[in-house]
Symmetry: C2
Subunit: 242 residues, 2 copies
């Protein structure tokens, strides 16, 4: 049973995405919506603040709430700090395009020093190292490397890496929700190795996103690093100043 404000947020998000509320249109006031959904204003506000932060609406003091005029784009958006999940490629894009994965490498290794630091592990412990290529409609667009604490997940079925969502599997396997922390975005150029994996030229621009993933109990279990073709991806960064 999800929290009420999450349900309300999703309900209104649906109303926006399905154009029941038109772009730029004023939506009902907090007090009206609170009555509609049978909650207090405080609860309704929690939902609306999330919608604002994710860029669906604008809240203007004294005037009301308006559906944001959205500009469509011909590149794929990596949602960063917004949307229901940065948690896995397939969840984000599964609905708008045909996503496939190609497993390049999967082995258990002793944890590299810099990974051990990120995951708060001891040097003798082991991690899964996983390298996958993601394809949109058959075109390879990014390489993703993951280091996953073997103590959290002993075995990872090949079928999950090839066709499923790793994060979904982990949430089911552990029974815990996932949190992202401190992800970092960098720009760089594709080197020979990565370019070869994507069948592109060395020296093309890349967006690199790396970060630690934790379980809701605070346990860090994954360090991941994705190398994205900069001509295929933008990162949306909806944010509202204070």
């Amino acid at each position: 049973m999800a929290a009420r404000y999450i349900e309300i947020k999703k309900s209104i998000q649906d109303d926006i995405l399905s154009h029941r509320y038109q772009l730029g249109e004023k939506i009902p006031s907090e007090r009206e919506l609170a009555v509609q959904y049978g909650v207090t204003r405080v609860t309704l506000q929690k939902a609306m603040h999330i919608l604002e932060q994710e860029g669906f609406i604008e809240r203007i003091h004294g005037k009301g709430m308006y559906v944001t005029k959205v500009i469509e784009d011909n590149v794929y958006m990596l949602n960063s700090g917004t949307g229901d999940s940065i948690l896995g490629f397939s969840r984000e894009f599964g609905q708008q395009a045909k996503i496939t994965s190609q497993l390049v490498q999967h082995e258990q290794i002793q944890v590299p020093q810099w990974v051990a630091q990120q995951l708060e592990m001891q040097p003798e412990q082991r991690v899964h190292f996983i390298r996958r290529i993601r394809l949109i409609d058959g075109v390879p667009v990014l390489v993703e490397d993951s280091w996953i604490n073997s103590d959290v997940i002993e075995t990872i079925p090949g079928s999950v890496l090839e066709h499923g969502s790793l994060y979904e599997y982990i949430e089911k396997y552990t029974g815990k929700k996932i949190k992202f922390y401190n992800s970092v975005i960098e720009g760089d150029l594709f080197n020979e190795e990565l370019a070869a994996l994507l069948s592109i030229s060395e020296g093309l621009p890349m967006l690199k996103v790396s970060g630690v993933t934790k379980l809701e109990d605070g346990k860090a279990f994954n360090f991941s690093c994705s190398y994205n073709r900069a001509d295929k991806f933008k990162i949306k960064n909806s944010w509202v100043g204070k």
Copy 2:
């Protein structure tokens, strides 16, 4: 008079930055802090949720709140969706390094079509076009282009562009706070023109950040686009999944 939860947030942030709360240390419970600050838990939670989102603390259900172990970096961080402001380069970096600006161009022009769209302007209206170079300790690190609706700000003193914060000036001039919306991060390569401005080689990697700035009454007044040397900047993206 700022809101109480903003004051509390800043107070605890100071306690963390000054190491009165050590890295990784557990901080007092919500109920304790609420008493300390003389507010209810709801108000205190608003402060703590912001600190969590900005990456200062981790909140773990049933256990408590902990100061995040921070990894220091030898590159400059552009805060994106976090910190007190993405609002202007000088505010972000003024304390850790010597920031200077170099005004390359400033003229009033008829609003270009794509800018008019972003700022909801008519084709015959005018904008300030401003191109500045930013230097850290004397080294040029980024180019920033801004298009500012002339109806919002008629004149912009040269001294502001050379030495001050444009956003601070606008907040003072209009008497309104500033909001950012829908900023987008892209990766690209420096072309000849931009590379020349920074005295670097063409083809080096770049992080491009663009977005619209609005006043708190919803009025869009500025479209800006910054071209950052990818070897000098990372973008921190503190975020907590739901």
